[in-house]
């Protein structure tokens, strides 16, 4: 299953040597780190919980209580961001961490001053961009170390969007909790609210009707289509090919309006609710089918221009390459990882309802981790989402979309984890409940949290002028990372 609930007392507490050994063993086996966080225990001690997703679809959880530990970030770079987050939020020390920068700067008034890796030399120059960027986009700071036109290193410093969501979630769920989830990353409203509902439904043994699952699926795939189509347009704009840029901008709006047809809000706010969904689609089924058909035809026409245009392909191909090994080492997720040939998609991995027939077809696409691959993977996913939605709408049966209004009491003293394949990739929510069944801690891991470092690596052999293109091909969330 894509969720797991355990009694907190049943989670193995290892000593730190065993803990490190166990982590190494699991990573070497090719298991994925899906969640890693710390809970302060007082007296300088921290309880660390790490969760793996095994290749045979099991979620493995174990823990340790300690105050410090050698860092594993150099050996396993995918852990580096988790370790940084734990150091920042709990005061735990990972000794010899290669880059112990804060993730969210939550303890200081102002961000990103003087914590930069620098290359020294006469012909080196440094370029700083942000936090306020040229476009209508969220804030982040980018620092390039350049030798002539070539980028030696790009350092990405975030935290500007830090709103303190995880802190505000403690003692929940309450009437605000859902709205924090829906705005954790506003463009992934469905992804995060579905994951949150998996958690609370698992913690209260609530089953969801097939029909409600399909409506959730439709909205998640609409979210994916909207963002992928929008980004394909933006990529096109970044290489100054305007036809696709302008058509996709509008088509993205058509997809958002289809979500609004279901729930009134273009981003799917309020669509998913406890025990199901808030909206019935029987009366708009035919309208939905028509719209999705038109959207796909328009998008197919607009996007196929890209692959035929040599000037576009010249910029897309071999720009911002992330090799498969790098993608695995860094633990990249979602389309960014798939473009590098990492076959990891939670929909085809678990094949849970409503995705029981979903198959990957990455082998067919001839991918090599460049901007083209990331764009092409995303177009391929638009096609697959369209087919999913079309089939669901054809086969959707009658039934309840929701069975209960109020959230039931959650299981006390429990550990819960849930996963969803959002449009950017693997979303993980993890929580611990106290003896009243309230959240003792609630951790949100947006796929951007794994992937930001991938963008930095993509730029390493490139030029600054490749940056907008690489950035859009990933299109990561700032607020999803900063929370």
């Amino acid at each position: 299953m894509d969720f797991l609930v355990l009694n907190t007392n049943d989670i193995k507490v290892l000593n730190s040597d065993e803990f490190i050994k166990e982590i190494s063993k699991n990573i070497e086996k090719g298991f994925r780190v899906i969640s890693y966080f710390g809970l302060s225990k007082g007296e300088g001690k921290t309880h660390l919980f790490i969760s793996f997703l095994s290749t045979d679809k099991k979620i493995i959880v174990f823990s340790t209580i300690a105050d410090k530990m050698p860092s594993l970030a150099l050996k396993y770079p995918l852990l580096h961001i988790f370790e940084r987050e734990i150091m920042e939020s709990t005061g735990f020390v990972f000794e010899n961490h290669p880059c112990p920068n804060p993730v969210r700067y939550s303890k200081e008034e102002s961000a990103a001053v003087g914590r930069f890796f620098q290359v020294k030399g006469e012909e080196i120059h440094e370029v700083a961009v942000g936090p306020v960027h040229a476009g209508v986009i969220e804030p982040g700071h980018f620092r390039f170390q350049c030798f002539g036109e070539n980028v030696f290193n790009l350092q990405i410093e975030l935290g500007f969007q830090h709103r303190g969501i995880e802190k505000a979630l403690i003692n929940g769920p309450d009437k605000k909790t859902l709205h924090f989830m829906e705005t954790a990353a506003g463009d992934t409203t469905i992804g995060h609210s579905w994951t949150y509902h998996k958690i609370i439904e698992a913690l209260s043994d609530k089953k969801i009707s097939d029909k409600a699952l399909i409506i959730r699926g439709i909205s998640l795939e609409l979210e994916r289509m909207a963002n992928h189509i929008g980004d394909l347009g933006a990529l096109s704009g970044d290489v100054a090919y305007l036809p696709t840029a302008s058509y996709c901008g509008r088509i993205r709006g058509d997809v958002l309006n289809t979500t609004a047809l279901i729930c009134g809000n273009r981003f799917g706010r309020g669509l998913i609710s406890y025990s199901g969904v808030n909206f019935e689609i029987d009366d708009i089924k035919n309208q939905l089918i028509d719209r999705i058909e038109n959207i796909f035809n328009d998008a197919d026409n607009a996007v196929s221009l890209l692959w035929k245009k040599r000037s576009v392909m010249d910029r897309f191909e071999n720009t911002g390459i992330v090799a498969k090994k790098e993608a695995l080492d860094l633990g990249l997720v979602g389309p960014a990882a798939r473009a590098s040939g990492v076959k990891y998609d939670l929909r085809s991995f678990f094949k849970l309802k409503p995705y029981e027939n979903y198959e990957d077809d990455l082998e067919k696409l001839n991918l090599r981790g460049d901007v083209f691959s990331r764009a092409y993977v995303r177009w391929n996913e638009v096609k697959k989402s369209y087919n999913l939605i079309k089939n669901w709408l054809k086969n959707i049966d009658n039934g309840e979309v929701k069975t209960k209004e109020e959230i039931s009491q959650l299981k006390p003293n429990s550990f819960a984890i849930a996963l969803t394949e959002g449009w950017r990739g693997e979303i993980t929510h993890t929580c611990l409940t106290d003896d009243r069944g309230k959240f003792l801690i609630y951790k949100i891991k947006d796929p951007s949290f794994n992937n930001w470092h991938g963008l930095s690596i993509a730029l390493r052999r490139g030029q600054i002028s490749d940056f907008p293109l690489c950035n859009k091909s990933f299109n990561l969330s700032y607020c999803g990372n900063d929370l």
Binding site: R104, Y105, S106, E109, S110, A111, P131, V132, A134, G135, V136, I137, E138, P139, G159, F160, Q161, H162, R163, G164, K167, A168, K175, K176, L178, H179, F180, T183, A184, A185, G186, D187, T189, P243, S246, Y247, G249, R250, R252, G253, N257, A260, L261, I262, C263, G264, N265, R266, F267, R269, G270, F279, D298, N301, A302, L305, K308, S477, Y478, C479
Partner: protein, 250 residues
Amino acid sequence: MIDEILARLKQKHRTVPFPFKNIKLSDRYNGFPEIKNPPSPKIEDVIKICPVDALINHDGKLKLDMGLCIFCGKCSKKFPEYIKFTKDYSLSVSKREDLIISEDFHKKSVILREEIYKLFGRSLKLRQVSAGGCNACEADCNVLSTPFFDMARFGISFVASPRHADGILITGPVTKNMHLALRKTYDAVSEPKIVIAVGACAISGGIYRGLEQIKGIDSDIKIDLFIPGCPPHPMTILDGLLRFIGKIKK
């Protein structure tokens, strides 16, 4: 080249004829709320339901603060007899207090100022600053530049630098970490300048009001236009901007 021309024919002309013709939004859209005052003992039950405390009991009178409201519709679902969300997407106002509505309140709109009309009536360049926004308000601002809304035909556009701008458009609740950057951006815009707050977060903090990491827009930065919503529909933003510069007068 022939592919582009064929595509152009297929994609057609889709720009919305607004403001000459109104457009219809989703039947499930929550727009301007209408309020009927409940009997006093009932008010407390009604206001309790709001996740952001946008409903207020003001001496036995039910009021709704649109600057805080996230238009989730929970109140109207539970108490349809007292609160009803209409399909009216024209929500923007010039004064913060005009966002607080009640039963006997007459809907306020943007007041057209002579100096704004003279200076910016034909050209308004804005620098957008996201200060803790979740990327929904940002996305709905961004979409105004696409051919469907095509805000540029009214002389309004987003520019890359505050030095090129007539004002700033703020989204998000203004986090501690963005506070300084927002201030510097504001200072970099030359006078006379205007400030537009888009979305519940920018106007009041919205869902994030009162959290430790949230600072809000400094009180000395005067806001000239409030566009409520979570996020506001692009039509709400466009309508607000057009009223602000006098392109819509009714």
